[in-house]
């Protein structure tokens, strides 16, 4: 059994339906490695990789990137909160090996 932590990021289409841009997931025993399932060419994902996001939770200066692991995952929901782009809280998923 392997435990994953993950966050889904959605965008809103013109018909008011959400479309998943990506799932950011991290394996419990690989805490510094967040994998991104999604269209890596999507401008929002490119923006995240290029610009990073902020550490709202701990109010620390500097940016967070996928390689920052759980800190990155925990802050996605604060960075993307408008509804136009909206992230979930960190969720857990267990996968049978």
């Amino acid at each position: 059994m392997t435990l994953f932590y993950f966050v889904d990021l959605y965008e809103l289409d013109r018909d008011a339906k959400q479309r998943k841009i990506a799932t950011f997931k991290m394996q419990e025993d690989e805490p510094g490695k967040v994998e991104v399932d999604g269209d890596h060419g999507h401008p929002v994902l490119e923006s995240i990789n290029r610009e990073g996001i902020f550490d709202y939770k701990n109010a620390r200066p500097g940016k967070l990137y996928p390689y920052d692991g759980m800190s990155f995952l925990e802050n996605l929901k604060y960075y993307f909160r408008s509804g136009y782009l909206l992230a979930t809280d960190v969720q857990k998923m267990t996968v049978n090996n």
Binding site: V44, S47, F54, Y56, Y79, R81, G83, L85, L86, D89
Partner: protein, 240 residues
């Protein structure tokens, strides 16, 4: 002053003057066709209004202990819209208080434009006057969380809309990011025009009306800080 009036002489982009009142009236009274609760940590619903487009609904929370990040979200969004309206800038989508499915909150017009984070090099696609107005607005409200995820642009017209005015951006301090202000400075859009100063004067003349109906110390303090910043801008004439 009607919205945008002071800019007309210098061909500044007009923030859709007349219809704004109508939009607010529609948001307040129009029959609701459907409500879609969105997946996400923050509670947002998309509301389809009968015969009249879409709006974004955010619940009010008065429970600051359990729900810190939702706290004052509605009040601050209304306040930001009130400031924008007094300035006549047309940057904040129209927003009203409304109860939806038994929950009190704010209903804001949905803007069909692109979130800036979807538009690389957005600063070259926006009209300089919209960027300058947005920079003045963010300076006045002391926005501490303006990043490319919380403003919208229309690359075809160069227009900007500002969203996400909440506890994180206006009171607690979010990312300490001031992307719009920084881009305006990098494009040397720091000097206030006569019309811009006039708008700030209109805001100052009426800003105390925004205190009506609130006793929240943080909001009252927030308004006082805007007054101070507005006076600084009028005295110095620059964002630099």
């Amino acid at each position: 002053m009607s919205e945008g009036q002071s800019f007309e002489k210098n061909d500044m982009p007009k923030p859709e003057a007349g219809p704004e009142v109508e939009v607010e009236s529609v948001l307040e009274k129009r029959e609701i066709e459907s409500v879609e609760r969105l997946e996400g940590y923050f509670q947002v619903r998309v509301v389809k209004l009968k015969d009249d487009g879409q709006a974004m609904f955010r619940e009010t929370s008065d429970d600051s202990e359990r729900n810190y990040h939702q706290f004052l979200r509605s009040e601050l969004e209304l306040l930001a819209a009130g400031i924008d309206k007094r300035l006549g800038f047309g940057l904040v989508p129209p927003v009203v208080g409304r109860t939806i499915e038994g929950s009190a909150g704010v209903l804001q017009e949905r803007i069909f434009a692109e979130v800036a984070s979807k538009v690389p090099d957005w600063e070259y696609l926006v009209n300089d006057l919209w960027l300058a107005k947005a920079a003045v607005f963010d300076y006045l409200i002391g926005n501490r969380d303006r990043h490319s995820g919380n403003f919208l642009i229309d690359p075809s017209t160069g227009r900007i809309w500002l969203i996400d005015h909440d506890y994180l951006s206006l009171i607690a301090g979010g990312s300490e990011e001031t992307e719009i202000l920084d881009k305006a400075k990098s494009k040397n859009l720091t000097q206030l025009s006569k019309e811009m100063k006039e708008s700030i004067g209109f805001l100052l003349a009426d800003i105390d009306s925004l205190k009506q109906g609130t006793e929240d110390i943080e909001i009252l303090d927030f308004i006082e800080k805007i007054k101070t910043r507005a006076q600084v801008l009028l005295n110095t004439g620059t964002l630099a």
